[in-house]
Amino acid sequence: MGLVHFAAEKTLASSAVLLFITVLMMAAARRISTCIMLFAAQCAIITAQILAMAYVHRSPEAYAIAGFMLVIKVLTIPYALSWIVEKLKAPRDVTASTTPAQSVFIVSALILLSFFAIGPYMQVLRVDEDVLAAAITLVLTGAFLMVSRTKALMQVIGLLVLENGIFLAALVTTFGMPLIIEIGVLFDLLMGVFLMGLFVFRIRDTFDHLDVSKLRKLRG
Amino acid sequence: MEIAFHFFVASLFVLPFAAVAAQRSRMARAVVTTAFFVVLVAGAIVAARGFWAGEAAVWDLSAFAPFPFALALDRLSAFFLLLICVVAAPVTLFSGPYVERHYGGAPRTWLWALLPLFLGSMVVVVTASTAFAFLFGWELMTLFSAGLILVDGDSDERRHNLFIYLLMMHAGAAAVVAAFLLFLPGAPGLGFGAMRAAGSAMSPVMKNALFLLAFIGFGAKAGLIPLHLWLPRAHPMAPSPVSALMSGVMLKTAIYGFVRIAFDLLGGGAPWWGYVVLAAGAVSGVLGVLYAIAEHDLKRLLAYHSVENIGIIYLGLGAALLFLAHGAPTWATLALLGALLHTLNHAVFKSLLFLGAGAIGHSTHTLDIEELGGLQKLMPVTGAAFLIGCCSIVGLPLFNGFVSEWMIFRSFLAGSTLADPASVLLPMMTGVLALIGGLAAACFAKVYGVAFLGRPRSAEAEHAVEVPLPMRGAMAILAAFCVVIGVAPAIVLNPLAAAIQTFVPGTPLLHEQLRFAHVLPWIAVAVAALMLLTMFARTAVRLTATWACGLPKLDSRMQYTSTAFSKPLRTVFAQVYRPTRVVEVTPAGETYFPTAISYRSARTTSYERLLYRPALNVIVAGAHILRRLQTGNIQIYLLYIFLALLALMLGMRFA
């Protein structure tokens, strides 16, 4: 039990740092498969965080949520996305409107902005400052990815990262939403990803490319 | 000591007459030059005694002047006087043969008459102890340097550049005069002692205003971006020895003025002073060296590097102001030590580089490095001295530039102990200074590599010969200073720290902070031992042709040019240069068989477009509006006088 306690403690202390690393690596990544793997790693870190908090607060609900997270977000969704990437046979690079260096600079600024923004709330909320900042960073990074990456698949990944951030923020401030809502959200996500996968094939078949910036011609 | 000081200053103003009198005979001219050199050496000795031994000297000439006019030599003044003399003496030595060869008749006489006057005005500036003496010398400096620039000719373009120079110098001087006048209520005679007392009793608003005026006024003279517009126009136009003096010494008088006002008379102030100075130093440092990289005219390149080094000095000054504002005088002393030592180092290696440029011009009649090459074999002493100058300006260890840059770095590191945001901003400046150093290394590898190494790129460079002995001797003296200060800086550091302690109160520097000065000689010994060991392992040497991929012969056009060398950096920093490219193909119809293709590329300077043009437009528009006041109607003018009378009466009533 001492080892488990030690592991839980270390997880809670270092999850924020690891999330920052994944976020920075996602900004600098050049291939879609790298982004998918980093997303899976992010979800794994959040799952570990849930498990650690479950152990510390002794809540069986949390173990269930962690299980669902693991199955859906760490295994199923990344696998589905990789399957889509392979089936599409599209070029595997992340076409971005900012170079990797510029993206890393912007994401660094977002990280600092998150710390700056949550400053006034720290007296009210008795939470770990780092993890809350990490959550806000995930939300902002997800939004940034959606804005700067022009491939349709990257929009999906950006949305997933954003959802990760919201989930983590809820987890840290209120120790999670009720179990039913959690499960509902997770299955929603799963359905959303499959639907988006279908649409991506549709877009590719109709327009012969996946570049979101070229879809401007759809206006009337 | 006092008599020697009086004699030195007086002879600088007497020598011009001797130069005019001796203009006919070559022998007489040589005598005057030697006398000039001896006077400067005497000045260096006077300054050395003031700097190392702390002896003071005073010369009060208020009886002869309408306002209080006095010169005084305290430790800080002695340091700057030493700087002036130590640089001017070799430059004079260099000028002897240089001026003889390149100038004749009236221009030569003017040159030899104006040089001592120019130096004399600078001496008056750094030893002034009343505001009137300071400003007297300040304006004379501008005047005499303009005269020296005119010695080289006055075409339309030169007059335009000279006009810009005089204009900006006057604008700066106006700000400095305003700054001094703000001391008036507290110090009626405007003597520095009274001003010091008034400064400590001043209100913060007045102090801030004073700081801003002094910063802008001295910044324009020193060449901070964006007030540096005149530097790359004026410095290349002057004869090489004069460029050496202008870049090496005249810019330093601005640093002296700023240090005197901000640290001595005002005693430091609010933290935002430090941030402003740091920002100005960072921008000047980075932009200065970026513009230098794109140049291939040697003197313009060196002029931009002066901007960069002034930026580095201001980085040190900004750190010192921040430390003073946060109550850490020991670290402020270290930062000031780095900044002031960098002024000395810059004076020495910049004048060395300009003298080297003069030597190159003397031998090959061109200063465009794209036309040079292979000069190291033909001019070994010049090349070696120039190499030492290059290593010093880049800030490589074992040369003097590194010592001052290290101290500025060390003070940035110490900034992490202050309160936020200084605790993050000061270490961040480490990155800025490292970037500046890296860019300078790239630029000078280009300059030395293209000009001195490889094959000659023109007939002039192929037939270059070594310069006469006095010119070589002058460069060797300056190069020796670079190496000595670089390897054993303790000689200069200890008295300089004592000089700084006269106006920055606090505990003397810890031994630990100056331990660096004791480690450097060991590093030098290690490197020298290794070099000797490896060089003396004599091996057989065979001369062959350069590898040309099997081609029969390489010619000089296959080498990298200066433009080619700087291309990768210019591409990365294209936002700064915003180049415009024009490619013309003749005849325009036939794409595959043109008779000629011309390619022209030009850089645009963003500060001119973004800052000066709009400001100029606003001022001209304002002038247009004000012109409406000039109706030409006499009765309207009488109305103006009547209205002024009314306003005065009402003003007196309500006052």
Partner: protein
């Protein structure tokens, strides 16, 4: 006693440098399904080169022969500042990492000059590219070490190593992670490894470091090759001393010395393996993408410095 150990660790780095290079080459060969040369091959190369004569182009000046020796002297002088076996280097003072970085800059400056002296296009090309890479790599190099120094409140490499030895290895510090990432990227750029430069290429258009030494032969080339090996092991030793110094001995003793040398060998073999795996799995970057690579390093280093105030 401590002085003797300090000198010994410097000599160890200098003498073992070609071995590190040979190990990386051997591991790369194994990963690429080849047999590869023996790990002692670089020593044989150096001996062969020392016995040959120096070929000097007719257009070259004295700088051509002085440059390789200056490069070697400056790189070896930089080794004196790095703690390897115990947390005290031969020379150490507050702010010594600045001297180290600038000694490496001195070596690089002379290498560029020697390259331009050959009078061929390749020398100029190599020098111009090296100027680009080194300019952009200096800022993150200094900033990342500065960040670590600020957290440790020690401004010398030996001091930082001492502080790191006393820390809990299982605690992850954001500043250290960011600084390590930045310094690792800079290390790749400084030592001229894939993805910045290919040390084993034969195509002149893809060379940066190799193009600068194209004209050199015999003992001059030997000094340069040895200096670049020493630089590689110096940078690796720097990474070890700053971020994973455990194993260094606290006080001189025979057991401690054996442990320290074993730890040193183990860590170097591990880092060599990481370098070899990295080089075999990533493609070399186009030259105009290298500034982007170094831009990422700069962003990480700046973030590390800012984090010293944020996550205090």
């Amino acid at each position: 006693m401590t002085a003797a150990i300090s000198i010994l660790q410097a000599l160890l780095l200098i003498v073992a440098a070609p071995l590190v290079r040979g190990t990386i080459a051997r591991l790369k060969a194994i990963l690429q399904n080849r047999r590869g040369a023996s790990v002692w091959r670089p020593y044989a190369d150096l001996l062969k080169l020392f016995r040959k004569e120096d070929l000097v182009p007719t257009t070259a000046s004295s700088v051509f022969r002085v440059a390789p020796r200056a490069v070697f002297a400056a790189t070896v002088a930089a080794v004196l500042f790095v703690p390897v076996l115990h947390a005290a280097a031969a020379l150490s003072l507050a702010g010594d990492f600045i001297i180290l970085v600038y000694l490496l800059a001195l070596a690089r400056f002379f290498l560029m000059l020697g390259a331009m002296d050959g009078g061929s296009s390749f020398g100029g090309m190599g020098a111009s590219r090296e100027a680009l890479v080194s300019t952009l790599a200096e800022a993150p190099f200094l900033l990342s070490i500065t960040a670590v120094a600020i957290v440790a409140r020690e401004m010398s490499l030996s001091g930082i190593a001492r502080w790191s030895l006393a820390q809990d290895p299982s605690r992850i510090s954001a500043v250290h992670v960011l600084a390590f990432a930045a310094l690792a990227l800079v290390a790749i750029a400084e030592t001229g490894r894939i993805p910045v430069d290919n040390p084993t290429t034969h195509l002149e258009l893809t060379m940066i470091h190799e193009a600068m030494v194209l004209e050199y032969s015999g003992p001059s080339l030997a000094w340069i090759e040895w200096a670049s090996s020493v630089k590689l092991s110096l940078v690796l030793a720097l990474l070890v001393a700053l971020f994973m110094p455990w194993g260094m001995m606290a006080s001189p003793s025979a057991l401690g010395m054996a442990l320290a040398i074993a730890a040193f060998l183990l860590k170097f073999v591990l880092l060599a393996a990481v370098v070899a795996v990295g080089e075999s799995s990533i493609a070399k970057l186009r030259m105009y993408l290298v500034p982007d690579f170094l831009g990422v390093a700069s962003a990480l280093a700046i973030l590390a410095v800012v984090f010293t105030a944020v996550m205090r």
